[in-house]
């Protein structure tokens, strides 16, 4: 690898994707040709995000599926995008994880080259462009639909951005969920949500939402008590991205099940 140098008129600036293209000419990823199979955005997964008093909570299940079989039980779908934002993914695992990696590198690259951090809105826009450039693959059935949330340092509040397969992004004021179990998760959150939730209440609600989604959707993994695998939960506040400790998540799932048993209903 040589030292990357560009003529001023060809300089990629702080854009990492443009830099990659200049460094390795030709398509980074070959787009398969053939008739479009139609877009199925309901890929197996459930990821949720909701706002609370100090920021946002984001959570996602751990299951990856291949058709009707389970491909992976410990898949991570919630990632720190940078210090003050998080990204969760639904869709085809390979391209989705690659997109997250590119997104993380892009945010850090911009920060280092320019010497300042992108605004939260700017980060959301960057992700939009990545989803949009992935659209040809989505038409072949390999859709990636992320969920982006972060703490806006300028406004002093948590914000959530929802995406569609074409790269459109829409800000949600309260909560959002995506993936095949997204609908069930959304309904659960809707029932328990109010503005200004405390951190513990918000984490509890996210956990309930994932529990209900896993109950209804075969492609969403619930708490795996046998293997000790639990969904990933994280908060983003003025203190930055903080994963919720696995013990706490495990305890919350255990007490959720316990509570329901005590009430005399099926967990």
């Amino acid at each position: 690898m040589n030292l990357p140098r560009f003529a001023p008129e060809d300089d990629p600036g702080p854009d990492f994707a443009a830099l990659l293209l200049r460094r390795s000419p030709g398509p980074v990823q070959a787009v398969p040709t053939g008739p479009a199979t139609g877009v199925d955005v309901r890929h197996g997964t459930t990821v949720v995000a909701l706002r609370f008093a100090d920021g946002v909570v984001m959570a996602g299940d751990r299951r990856a599926t291949e058709g009707h079989s389970i491909a992976h039980r410990t898949m991570e779908k919630v990632f720190p995008a940078d210090r003050y934002s998080a990204v969760a993914i639904a869709g085809a695992a390979g391209p989705a994880v690659e997109m997250v990696r590119l997104f993380q590198t892009q945010l850090e690259h911009y920060e280092k080259v320019e010497g300042v951090v992108l605004s939260l809105e700017g980060k959301a826009n960057q992700l939009s462009q990545m989803v949009r450039s992935h659209f040809p693959m989505a038409l072949q059935g390999l859709a990636v639909v992320p969920l982006f949330a972060g703490y806006d340092l300028q406004r002093g509040t948590g914000r959530i951005f929802n995406y569609d397969v074409t790269g459109g992004h829409y800000e949600e004021t309260e909560h959002s969920a995506t993936g095949s179990g997204g609908r069930d998760a959304r309904t659960t959150i809707k029932l328990g949500y109010r503005p200004g939730l405390a951190r513990d209440e918000a984490v509890e609600l996210a956990i309930q939402a994932l529990y209900e989604a896993a109950d209804e959707d075969s492609a969403t993994g619930g708490p795996d008590l046998v293997r000790g695998i639990y969904p990933l939960v994280a908060t983003v506040t003025a203190d930055g991205f903080t994963p919720v400790p696995e013990d706490e998540v495990a305890t919350r799932f255990a007490s959720l099940i316990e509570r329901r048993r005590a009430e005399g209903r099926q967990p």
Binding site: M1, L3, P4, F16, L19, E108, K112, V113, G115
Partner: protein, 225 residues
């Protein structure tokens, strides 16, 4: 038709070296030293936005003196190289040694082949891990690369600064001691430098994955006390 004059190569090189040295000596100096928590960088730089010290990668920092636009271009190239390498391979495959070699090659090439040499002197530092030592690579305008052990001084008139800093350097000194000695060495006997005249940053453990951190004015005040 005009005939080109013959100039001896020795003379060409000498002129170029003189030109670059003059350019570098016009600017202010910068020091880097190891301390018990990592690597400390102190620059005599009153600007709050035109940085001489910056982050390249998780455990790698860059410092430059001389012409700002020239070393800043080198810095951006370094960030691009490191990010591309980390993305293509893995984060742990990005190391200061290969980057320092690339810089040295480039500076050497410009010095011998271009009309004007780059008027810069740069430093690439890497915070060590359990398996890799902490390293300071000092690269001069003509591409000479030196692997400094614990102290590096960049700039025009460095002999006095090196001497002062080497005299006070200890392997296990803390951040406050290292900072005070560095500032005193930079200032020399006739000047005093306050937080407003300094740009200070560290590569240190405890900052998470990205070890680079700038020290704010209030923190400097407290440390310089």
């Amino acid at each position: 038709m005009t005939m080109p004059f013959y100039v001896a190569p020795e003379q060409v090189m000498k002129d170029r070296a003189e030109y670059a040295q003059k350019g570098i000596a016009r600017g202010r100096s910068l020091v880097a030293t190891t301390y018990d928590g990592g690597v400390l960088f102190v620059a005599d730089n009153p600007s709050r936005s035109l940085h001489k010290i910056s982050e390249i990668y998780d455990r790698i920092a860059f410092a430059g003196v001389g012409k700002y636009n020239e070393f800043d271009q080198l810095r951006v190239s370094g960030v691009r190289h490191a990010d591309t390498k980390g993305f293509t391979f893995s984060r742990e495959d990005v190391d200061a040694r290969s980057l320092a070699n690339l810089y040295a090659q480039y500076l050497g090439q410009v010095f011998t082949h271009e009309m004007k040499p780059l008027e810069v002197e740069i430093l690439v530092a890497e915070l060590g891990t359990a398996t890799r030592p902490t390293q300071l690579f000092h690269i001069a305008y003509e591409g000479t690369i030196t692997d400094e052990d614990h102290v590096a001084v960049l700039g025009g008139e460095t002999a006095a600064i090196v001497e002062a800093l080497e005299a006070s350097w200890r392997e296990d000194w803390g951040l406050a001691d290292a900072l005070r000695a560095s500032v005193a060495a930079l200032a020399g006997p006739d000047r005093t430098l306050g937080p407003g005249d300094l740009e200070v940053a560290v590569l240190a453990e405890g900052n998470g994955r990205r070890a680079f951190r700038r020290l704010a004015d209030d923190e400097l005040d407290a440390l310089l006390g």
